[in-house]
């Protein structure tokens, strides 16, 4: 009760200080050589108030204060303490409060870390960031206040959706938000820099840290979500081209492109329009992600509640920001200095630009696949769903030149390059093609496309691998990330080529056998968890080599809300995963058994970690080497 009151008033005060900051920023912008100390203190105060508000919500969850509507809707006394805390951001209201927390934290860090930047630039960035922050404050207080009261006070809560009660998912939102919200700083900063005509090499090297930071968190956030979907949703895949996954992939693609543009801009004053547009679109895409999943326009596990009022607010807010930034871009940005004719065809920047266009293409494919169904529904009330075949057909062919340019590009010099001493590039290409032919030759279907794909991925793999030995620590960050990417593509390809699946319905005691595996349904046992009961199926699986393995997938029946989830049992080895999941067939003694062998699963996760590790190396490095 008390916590709700404190939390609520902290929010209102935080909004108030946002407005106060506007006033002081305007004053400071007109006449000052130094940053007003009041600005820094008020920014800190605003952050502090949001922290208090957030802690109040966490405490309400911990003590199960059901007079609070958010706690009532999403918690239960029997829930383990870990999930009570994680439940704070496992719902719409709490996750928005977390978003606000990161927003205020980041602008504070920004102000502290930019002491050597022009005062006008810092103040203007603060103003743009405050527009976003105030927008979120109003959104939170008006449409999704986490501190609403209920009277009479219920004795028990409704509980958290069981599929969200999972360690990976407990940290997935905070990590992802660090990435999303990091892009808001880039957005504000680029608007400020454009208005003041400050987009320069110096600006690029200062904003690079923010781009890298958000990029690392976004990558890890997507990875966590993907791992969770793999073992919790029981489909045995890691990426489904679900709209919700797509909305996290789109900012990632834009941010990755932006990162590469910033690297060019740091060396040479070109691509300024690219940088500005990409910074704006990264943030706009993050926001549209929020809009799409929170408004109920799309349906998914992320759709917490469907309230058209919320959707309308985000929609108007999002488009005001887009129009504001478009106006600033067209009005203030001078393109005169960029000259596209100054590119030499064989240079690092040309390679980067080519791949940027490919990335933009991938982005547009994902964008169209995601929003086309909505458009069609509105315009012709026809319902369609865009599935993996659409994305695969449109993306896979273009991965080939993309991978090749990714391999050769870093070998070229800035400004102008030539191909002397580059015989090894050709030798490695031949080796890759030969190797991939030997791998694919046992598979009759799609021989050509698979060979070319695998050879181009192998090519990048070998070239980056060679660099680890020949160049040592030079370019280590870029090399690690590119190596990780080649490993990712290879793992995904091998995974889809060599996966096998058995779906069958079995009773206890029955055996399924085919040429690949023998599955024996041994017995059923029961177990009691803290807030669920589970039925465990005990299976013995024998593969074609005669190797036996015990697997015990679970069906969990949660007490509150009363939902059944199936927990896959996965045996992970270095080379492949054995994945088994059971489901109830309604009112029957049969269980639907799904057994999959998925090679190289572990390597998909490892390679994404490598990719973000590459970003981390670049992030901690003091000076970018010349």
């Amino acid at each position: 009760m008390l916590f709700s009151v404190i939390g609520n008033y902290s929010l209102v005060l935080g909004l108030f200080f946002g407005l106060v900051l506007f006033y002081y920023s305007a004053k400071n912008f007109r006449n000052s050589e130094v940053l007003d100390t009041k600005i820094l203190s008020f920014t800190f105060l605003q952050f502090f108030l949001v922290v208090i508000s957030f802690l109040c919500l966490v405490l309400s969850f911990v003590v199960s204060d059901f007079s609070n509507e958010t706690v009532f809707n999403n918690s239960h006394t029997t829930k383990p303490i870990f999930y009570k805390i994680a439940g704070t951001w496992g719902n719409h209201e709490g996750s928005l409060l977390l978003w606000l927390l990161v927003l205020t934290l980041f602008i504070l860090i920004f102000l502290i870390r930019t002491k050597n930047q022009p005062v006008k630039y810092r103040v203007l960035t603060l103003v743009f960031q405050q527009i976003i922050i105030i927008g979120f404050f109003i959104f939170l207080i008006k449409t999704s206040n986490p501190f609403n009261h209920i009277y009479p006070i219920p004795t028990e809560g409704l509980g958290l959706n069981p599929i969200l009660q999972d360690p990976a998912l407990a940290i997935h939102p905070p990590i992802l938000y660090l990435g999303y919200v990091g892009s808001s700083i880039i957005f504000s900063s680029v608007l400020a820099a454009t208005t003041l005509n400050l987009v320069s090499k110096k600006w690029a090297s200062h904003i690079k840290k923010w781009v890298l930071g958000s990029w690392i968190f976004l990558t890890l956030g997507i990875l966590l979500g993907s791992i969770w979907a793999y073992y919790e949703l029981g489909w045995g895949g890691f990426w489904f081209w679900d709209p919700v996954e797509n909305v996290s992939l789109m900012p990632w693609l834009a941010l990755t492109t932006l990162l590469h543009c910033i690297l060019v801009l740091e060396k040479k004053l070109i691509l300024t329009s690219w940088v500005i547009i990409l910074s704006i679109s990264t943030f706009a895409l993050s926001m549209s992600g929020t809009f799409l999943v929170r408004s109920g326009i799309l349906n998914s596990v992320h759709t917490f509640a469907n309230d058209p009022e919320r959707g309308l607010f985000i929609l108007i807010f999002l488009f005001s920001l887009i129009f504001l930034s478009l106006f600033i871009f067209f009005f203030f940005h001078k393109t005169s200095k960029d000259n596209s004719s100054s590119f030499f065809w064989l240079s690092k920047e040309t390679a980067i630009i080519m791949n940027n266009w490919f990335m933009m293409y991938f982005l547009s494919v994902v964008l169209i696949g995601t929003i086309y169904p909505i458009f069609l529904d509105v315009l012709s009330s026809q319902k369609i769903s865009v599935g993996p075949p659409f994305y695969h057909t449109l993306i896979i062919p273009f991965l080939i030149p993309f991978l090749l340019i990714m391999a050769i590009g870093p070998k070229l010099k800035w400004i102008k390059s030539n191909l002397e001493d580059k015989i090894y590039l050709f030798t490695i290409l031949v080796i890759s093609i030969l190797l991939s032919i030997t791998i694919v030759k046992n598979f009759s279907s799609n021989f050509l496309i698979n060979t070319i794909l695998i050879s181009s991925a192998l090519y990048l793999f070998f070239i980056t691998l060679r660099d680890f030995f020949s160049k040592g620590f030079k370019n280590l960050a870029q090399n690690t990330a590119h190596f990780g990417f080649s490993l990712l593509i290879l793992s995904i390809l091998f995974n889809s080529l060599f996966s096998s699946e058995i779906i069958t319905n079995l009773k206890v005691g029955q055996t399924f056998e085919n040429s690949k595996a023998k599955i024996v349904f041994e017995s059923l046992s029961q177990k009691e968890g803290e807030n669920y009961k589970s039925i465990i199926g005990n299976f013995i699986v024998q593969d074609s080599n005669g190797k036996m393995e015990n697997l015990s997938p679970e069906l969990r029946i949660y007490n509150q809300p009363n939902i059944t989830t199936s927990e896959a049992d996965i045996k992970t080895t270095l080379l492949s995963d054995k994945f088994i999941v059971i489901n109830l067939v309604q009112n029957q003694e049969f269980f639907n058994v799904r057994y999959q062998v998925k090679p190289f699963m572990l390597w998909i996760w490892i390679s994404v970690i490598l990719i973000s590790f590459g970003g981390l190396i670049s992030f901690v490095k003091k000076e970018y080497e010349k």
Partner: protein, 172 residues
Amino acid sequence: MKNKLIPLSIFLVFIVIFIIFYKGLQNTNIYTPGTKTSFEVPSVSVKLFNSNEIVNTLEIFSSDKFYLLNIWSSWCVPCRQEHSILMELTKNDNLRVIGINYKDTKKNANNFLKELGNPYDNIIFDNKGTNAIEWGAYGVPESFLINNNKIIKKYIGPLNERSMEEIKSFIK
């Protein structure tokens, strides 16, 4: 003039997107398979098991008779168990039994039918398991009772004596 045209058109594009999203917000409806008691037969092109012809599902379910759509597979153990019920039901003149052969090979499926008999008037060949999704199926076996292009009742898991009696009472 040309310089102004580009920003203007971009603004216009975003305004159109805004309007469409705004409209989209107003007709949000949540699709939950469980709550929809009767929905229509999906219109998709499917491949026939015997002739390899590609036809539209609406053609298969065109007459005003009752149809029982049964999703089955030769590797599915409970399908064997419910097969006698399908054989029994197909004798009824008011009912046509249509099969969807799910994630199966032709050879195995034919052996299965040779061994246990063929109750199906028509079989849709769905070796990739994609057609079954259009019907909102969870797995095999599963059956849908259809009349006038509407799904009247859905049976998850193998049919038994009780569901057979229920189907018979429907089609009287």
